[in-house]
């Protein structure tokens, strides 16, 4: 069983290689078969492994493929380590990835660069799998950067548009800023532990560090730097909304289901380090809380369907960070899984809408799609309900409620964090249903060409089902008490217990959360469906409009970074294009040339100058001999 481990990432890589090598010569069908098939087989192997894993319940599977290199006791391997945490991740990556690939064969059917698209997608899935299965941080870093590369290639897939290229580079560069912090973290870890093997570090860290030791805090913060970069959290979140420039399946794959959750994975994977550094862990929670609010407000003001979803992604990952930050490890991972289902679903629905409306992404140009696209409408509604965490029926409710509960009641809990989470839930409902109402209700504004085909609707339906039933594997203990998921993770991640006093009143807070999300739906209904005049009156207010603009541009972070970093860098580079140091050497050459001109005056055939030279020489010699 263990020996199959390497196949999971290797198959997508193989698919990518084949597509790169023979891409231009393959027919679209064959390219699709390779592209989808490689991920599909990976998913099957994952399933096989998963069944084995769940039945035998070993601590982990481990396979060393080969020793990467070995220098003076630094021996990272290409080795895979599969435990419950990675299991959840590879399950989501391969299955959701497979569905998205399947969907993409229809979505990208008219694209001339079909095989290039699938090559990048496969490479992406492969890198992501390496990331979550790596047994050491260096291999994880390989996957980490590979994911960044693929996001660059896929966001800039339609490369002829310079704006897309800009978005792609922005994504790569900003995430790389985070990666740099992480790399420094790796240097420190290596210096302290002499290895980058994750399990070794996790085992030895508690002995090496006291709780709250400065080193632990610094390492944890550096790792957090990497995580916020990849996961689009404050302060490195600005790349993610722009990343919607890529084709929609890319958005679904990279920016909803998998890549952006790499940060969540990293923090969960290195949880020991964070537990040893409470300050850093609190920072994780605060970053999550602030991000989820900021992104939520920004999502409220977007008109581009995909940008709303992008901001909602940032916001939802904020929830995961919040969960990790308060020590509710399994809740964060649970939310990751559920989020992957419904966010992929939402993105794919959005893609179906965009495709049907001839690449129209502005929600103001949509409306009334409920009738013309019933399948998409219903699945989108399920996804939206899950995102808004409508109580009882949706998976999103159970995962988000768990996070909110532990934010308050957990040992790292805190009223302020809880309040932020609750407010976020409220905003989430508003923007989610604003989206639903604007898109599917009201009168139709754009002509609908042809309804989406089977290859598009089947993944939607599967994901919609998962978005609903996914929640039932983990129910709160006063309500069914199903703990399948946290049991699965229990050997890997520590559990969490709620405070006794609050635990008695858990139902109260569940009710509160439910009320907030329902309230949000109601507000959206009020503003966008029932009485749009209310919205117009708000819009007349100057402050509201200013706030709207501010939120619309993502709290001005882009402008800030632009003036703070980009422009000075470009300016610095441009003024020095001719290399100021070189002017020293050319200056030196000029001086020599000057002497040349001067001295050649004494040899130019004019007799007096020769004499003059002799005289000057005589004076110099005399002077020197007098002085000495």
């Amino acid at each position: 069983m263990e020996n199959l481990l390497w196949l999971i990432p290797a198959l997508p890589f193989l698919g990518a290689t084949l597509l790169v090598l023979f891409g231009t010569r393959l027919s679209k069908t064959l390219a699709a078969v390779i592209g989808v098939g490689s991920v599909g087989v990976s998913a099957l192997i994952t399933l096989l492994l998963g069944i084995g894993f769940l039945s035998a319940r070993p601590a982990f599977y481990h396979q060393e493929v080969w020793q990467w290199f070995s220098v003076a006791d630094f021996n990272p391997s290409i080795a895979f380590h599969l435990d419950a945490l990675s299991m959840v991740f590879i399950f989501v990556i391969t299955f959701v990835g497979f569905l998205i690939h399947l969907y993409a064969t229809a979505y990208m059917a008219d694209e001339p660069d079909f095989s290039r698209f699938f090559a990048c997608m496969n490479l992406f899935v492969g890198s992501m799998l390496v990331l979550v299965m790596a047994d050491n941080l260096l291999l994880l870093y390989l996957g980490w950067e590979g994911v960044g590369l693929c996001s660059y290639l896929l966001i800039g897939f339609w490369y002829k548009e310079p704006a897309n290229g800009y978005a792609a580079r922005k994504a790569f560069i900003i995430t790389r800023v985070g990666d740099t912090a992480m790399a420094i973290g790796l240097f420190m870890l290596f210096q302290l532990f002499g290895t980058l093997n994750i399990q070794t570090i996790l085992a030895e860290a508690p002995e090496a560090w006291a709780v709250g030791s400065q080193m632990a805090v610094i390492v944890a913060l550096l790792l957090l730097g990497g995580a916020v970069g990849k996961s689009g959290q404050l302060p490195l979140q600005t790349w993610l909304p722009d990343a919607m420039a890529g084709p929609t399946p890319v958005s679904a794959l990279i920016h909803a289901a998998t890549m952006v959750t790499a940060g969540v994975y990293l923090i969960a994977r290195m949880y020991v380090v964070f537990e040893l550094a409470p300050v850093a862990q609190l920072t994780v929670a605060i970053v999550g809380a602030v991000t989820l609010l900021l992104a939520g407000f920004s999502a409220l003001t977007q008109y581009d369907l995909k940008r709303v979803l992008a901001y909602s992604t940032i916001s939802q990952i904020g929830y995961m960070f919040l969960a990790l930050g308060v020590g509710a490890w399994s809740a964060g991972i649970f939310h990751f899984m559920i989020h992957a289902f419904f966010k992929a679903l939402l993105f794919l629905c959005a893609g179906a809408i965009i495709l049907t409306l001839h690449h129209e992404q502005d929600m103001r140009q949509m409306g009334g799609l409920r009738k013309s696209m019933p399948v998409v409408f219903w699945t989108f509604l399920i996804g939206a309900a899950s995102l808004a965490a409508l109580p009882l029926i949706t998976a999103g409710f159970y995962s988000k409620d768990q996070i909110l509960w532990y934010t308050l009641a957990g040992p790292g809990g805190n009223v302020w964090l809880y309040a932020a989470g609750l407010a976020g839930a409220f905003i989430t409902s508003i923007y989610t249903f604003r989206m639903v109402f604007m898109t599917f209700y009201g009168e139709s504004k754009t002509h609908v060409s042809h309804p989406p085909g089977k290859r598009i609707t089947v993944p939607l339906i599967i994901l919609a089902i998962l978005s609903v039933v996914g929640g039932f594997i983990e129910l709160p203990h006063n309500f069914g008490h199903v703990v399948l998921f946290s049991d699965l993770l229990a050997p890997v991640l520590p559990g969490i217990t709620a405070g006794k006093i609050l635990a008695a009143n858990e139902w109260l807070f569940q009710l509160l959360a439910a009320l907030f999300s329902l309230g949000g739906v109601f507000v959206a209904y009020l503003f966008y469906l029932k009485s749009p005049s209310l919205l117009r009156s708000v819009k007349r207010s100057g402050t509201a409009m200013a706030l709207h603009r501010f939120w619309h541009t993502g709290w001005g972070f882009d402008a800030l970074y632009n003036t703070l970093f980009v422009q000075p860098y470009v300016y610095l580079s441009n003024i020095n294009k001719r290399d100021v140091i070189d002017s020293f050497y050319t200056g030196l050459a000029r001086v020599a040339e000057g002497f040349h001109v001067m001295f050649s005056q004494t040899q130019n055939g004019i007799l007096r100058n020769y004499v003059m030279g002799i005289v000057v020489g005589a004076i110099m010699i005399l002077t020197i001999s007098l002085l000495l």
Binding site: Q601, Q603, N604, G605, I606, L607, R608, V611, M612, V615
Partner: protein
């Protein structure tokens, strides 16, 4: 015949004459003037030798003067021949006109 001429003064005279000749070489463009100036300088040098010879009561200074004299005579004859030649070729006595190796 005994005098008390100060040797320093005599050397000074030689120096001044030499300088005047030198200035003349430097400022004149006319080749004949330059030749004349060279004569002045040679003469000044001869004077310096005489002074030295007198100072140490040795004949060598005067002998040097005789050699200088000989040399000056030869130099003037060759120099004047060259000047004639230059004048015939260039139709001018301007020494700057002969700067064919201008750098």
């Amino acid at each position: 015949m005994s005098t008390t001429v100060s040797m320093e003064a005599a050397l000074l005279l030689a120096g001044i004459l030499f300088m005047l000749g030198l200035i003349s070489v430097l400022i004149r463009r006319n080749i004949i003037f330059m030749l004349i100036s060279v004569e002045i300088m040679l003469n000044a040098t001869g004077l310096a030798f005489i002074v030295a010879g007198t100072r140490w009561v040795q004949p060598d200074g005067q002998i040097m003067f005789i050699f200088i004299l000989t040399m000056a005579a030869a130099e003037v004859s060759v120099g004047l021949a060259l000047i004639l030649q230059i004048y015939h070729q260039l139709k001018t006595l301007d020494s700057d006109a002969a700067n064919f190796m201008k750098g």
